[in-house]
Amino acid sequence: MHELSIAEAVIKQLENYAGTHPECTVKKVTLEVGVISGIDRSALEFAFPLALEVSSLKKLELEIITVPVSVDCLDCRAKSTVEKFMLKCASCLSTHVKICSGRELKIKSMEIEEA
């Protein structure tokens, strides 16, 4: 539901960049979106072009990298990826774990073209 706010926040940051680099055109932006960030990928893909239309930027490509939930086990020290969202170590089944990825909501990188 808040994917439009997220799309607008991304575009705002790209506009800030474009404002300080007038010789550059942003061609592509790559986002990292964690599985438990609360963002629905398809809703964000839908909202992004709509937010872009009312911005000062030209059409650009959106790439979304989905980051799985991974945990560090505080008992056996194993690192594992959580499939279904139950926080357990895949190795020793301990629930004494710390989330190390899956909450990302980041602009990872951009491709820009210089005039």
Binding site: M1, H2, S5, I6, A9, V10, K12, Q13, Y17, C24, K27, L31, I36, S37, G38, I39, F85, M86, L87, K88, T95, H96, V97, I99, R103, L105, K106, I107, K108, S109, M110, E111, I112, E113, E114, A115
Partner: protein, 268 residues
Amino acid sequence: MCKNCGCDAPKGNKHEHRHDHEGHYHAHEHHHDHAGHEHQHDHGDQPHGHQHPETTHVEMEMNILSENDRIAAENRAMLKGRGIVAINLISSPGSGKTALLEKTLDMLKGDVPCAVIVGDQRSDEDAKRLRGRGAPVTQIETDDSCHLNAGQVAQAFEKTLEPDTKLLFIENVGNLVCPAAFDLGEDFKVALLSSPEGEDKPLKYPSLFNTARAVIITKIDLCPYLDWDIEKCRQYVRGVNPGVLVFELSSRSGKGMDSWISYLKTLL
């Protein structure tokens, strides 16, 4: 080779980088300029030189909500400076956030100075219910937005906080998904789950239940009328958040309220 992008930037090329460092970032830009030269390409027996537009990869590594996070950090610093504990209450619409606050304010009245900021899309119905219980209450109408953000809360501080305020409750817009993503500058989040919603809510909405310090199971007075397995619910809550505090209460009957109130007092 640059460890960030793996590029083979020749020595001397402009090569800055951008990282997120809890609230600030460093610019961090990859420039592979070709020092004034053009790329020459041989096209069979008709050689010609032409210039390609340069595409440059720029590492950003920035939080998308960095502007919200910046304001939230200011809110947090201000609240801490004034010795105020702030709690962000999040749940689906109708889970009993306002009823819990009504009862909480009544029980803390004259003992702990409280304040409330409450968000809804429209109306001041919640603020009306919460006023007259010894705490200043500010209603924020978010219009079409499904969550509160740090800037809205910052604007409400001046008319809500009093010199002796110790405990600030921020009742977020009823929504289990979006509010979890927006830091408001609170000390911690509390997620509410009412018994009629079903035991499996934490599994369906892990992003909120995982980030909350405490989960309150509300409306436990309705349990006898529902096919409700409270043990299963506890397991699901702890499954997505192993160390979380769990309270079970009914704002209506008052059952379980004492332990919630005692917990609040330990925070001060």
